[in-house]
Amino acid sequence: MTAAPPPAVALRPPDRVMRLARLGSLHQCRLSFMRILTRRMAREGWRFARPVFDFDTRGVGHAVYTAQTPDRTYSLVAFGHDLPPEMRSDRVIATAWDATFTLFDGVPAPADIERLSGNVPRQEAGRVDERSLSLSRANRSARLWDRVVSTLADGRQPDAGQIAEVGYLMRTTAVYGSGKFGAADYDTIADRPEMRAPFQAEMLSVYLTRVYQRDLVNHMARARGGHRAVPLEPGIARQLGIGNSTGLGLGPFIVNHPLLFNNWIAAREEAIARVRAVDRAAAAEIALFRNVLARSSALVARWRSAHPIQQARLADLRADLAALAERLNGDDLTGPRPWNRLVEWSEAALSLEGQELLASLILEPYGALVDDLADRMGDTDPDAFRIDGSMTVSRARALIEDTYGWALNLDWDAPEHCARAWYVSAEKLEPRVGERFEEPIADYELPLAPGRDAAAAHAALADWRDDAPLAEFLLRHPEHRFAIRRAQIAARAPYAEIRDNTIAADMLPIDLLRAKLAFFGATQFDPRSDRWVRICMYGGAPYPEELNAGNADLWVYPEVAP
């Protein structure tokens, strides 16, 4: 790894970064997992093929899409189904889908396809094995699918405005990875360079799912229209992303993987600090920034949400972009430390949405300075789990005060501070969040309130002598083992902990979801409630046959007329 000089601009402090409202305002950036993948695929010249595409007129059948890296081949195996409309649901409790997928490690033989066909369509009720790296499903957009099929069948292109309104033709829901339902553990592929950055297998499966979406709509239009039918025009197809509908499941993930989450945030914060430390911006860098800002504004302009919370944030964001444009009329960015001055200005002048969008955008001209950070975003320290029991009680108290200071003076018995409880339902084994004082769930509560737990551990430590070792304390107090482990992890991983109350009455689970999805590279966040969000993935991305070094990176920003 290149030893970049230590940034002369301090990292933004965790107390500011790790608040739910800010995490819930994050935007994709150069270090988003989709973009890490598309850059690598182009750089390494991955080759793509579709050796199997066998569907009837209703879209029932299967396809295989292969992605060949310099070292190996991955295959998306897609099963198409004909789902009666009344069975179509994005809920994880659904039992049938329009399409189901697995990313297969290698090229599947007919016997593999046969085995997978009996399991992948059943999703959680089926089993895959270590040759599968993901398991996922998608439903057609009821708003758009049939309309696009019939328009193409009639020999016409669909209205680009309608396409932009929805953004996709199929919407994925859960994309299961590492070890789930029998799939390969991430550990078994973690040493492959192309899998080192987080979620690359899942991102590849979604990238190929988007190709399937396009190919299937063309196939069904041809089946319906015969000679009259036309394929989706490439420009319109490129605008299409693949949708995703995400419930609560992602929220617990970032709390349950503190070191991993730290590494994501820390990489982005380090990137921001490196760019802020740039003394003079070259003309080409300034031009690129202005270009992506204009294109990002176009993306924001087409961003729609039906939810009042996001509508208010979008109004703020649009005002932020106007303020930013005005600021840039008076600042040509040729002065010293232009990015640092811009960020400092934004902290007082813009909403959190605007601040975080700007922080992501200033990275764009500086791939050479920041892209190496992608290699630091995985969780590479299995020993972080072990508790150092030789640490003294006084040191443990100090660690808790450092990371959880915000939590120590909160009255955790006050109903508004502990109104929620996270739990797993017996029905479908999915994480849910409920009302502690209204539902019989407290006995089943998951440990997803690190602040409360740290405050309780801190109170218990107060009764112990300063130089007692933690090993002794934990022998008597195993109930604080969870909090002590996290405090020790957070001591070396400053962005590991969300510094906000994750069980407060006014907590918005969508903030947790947004933080994770922004790192995936998602755009067009559209919360459907306070705990469920729709997004678009790979909108604007080049298809495999178009992918090259020139379009592998900035595809997320729509082209605009100069």
Partner: protein, 211 residues
Amino acid sequence: MTFSLGEVEAVARKAARGAGYSWGMAEEAGRAARWLCAAGLDGAGLLAEALAAADGTDPAELAPRALDDWRGPSGRLCPLMAGAALSDAVAFWKETGVTMAGVTVPALVLPFAAMAARASGANVTVRWADVTAVTDGRALSLCGAANLPTGPADVSVSAGGAMTAPLAARTRATPRAEDWAALNALAARTYAPATEESRMKGAGAGLTDND
């Protein structure tokens, strides 16, 4: 059918929680079962045995009295409680070793000895009955009985020892069906019974998720 090690860890963690351990201890149980499977032993079966031996007993009754007294108030020791303390406290016993009295499932101490080995940078030797096990933190070599003798047994742990013929590392687990069922039954205790309110509100979807 084989299971991923992630599946083993997840069900082991929930099973320990369902058996009455704290979440922090449950995490240890998950890691321990996973490590045993990766090292080539039956992690699911060993954990199921330990949880069955502990079920209904206050974990404190099965924990060492102190860092210099590795006996439990009940006369037996739970390998999770004793093992976690062993890993936590390696700095204190590294020179002297420890002897644990009446460990219900001695082999379940091994993953904790492995954590101690990695933390201290030295191999750790674990002995009980006629078994001598040595770990460098990642792999495990075993001498003695082909079928690991179960407890309760006194277990001695000391720094040092040489790895002879390490067991082949595994990336998949093949638990016996009855052990897997026992772990899942304990894990099910952690799931909240579904209510209509939970179904409609808990995960956040209303009725309009189909457009």
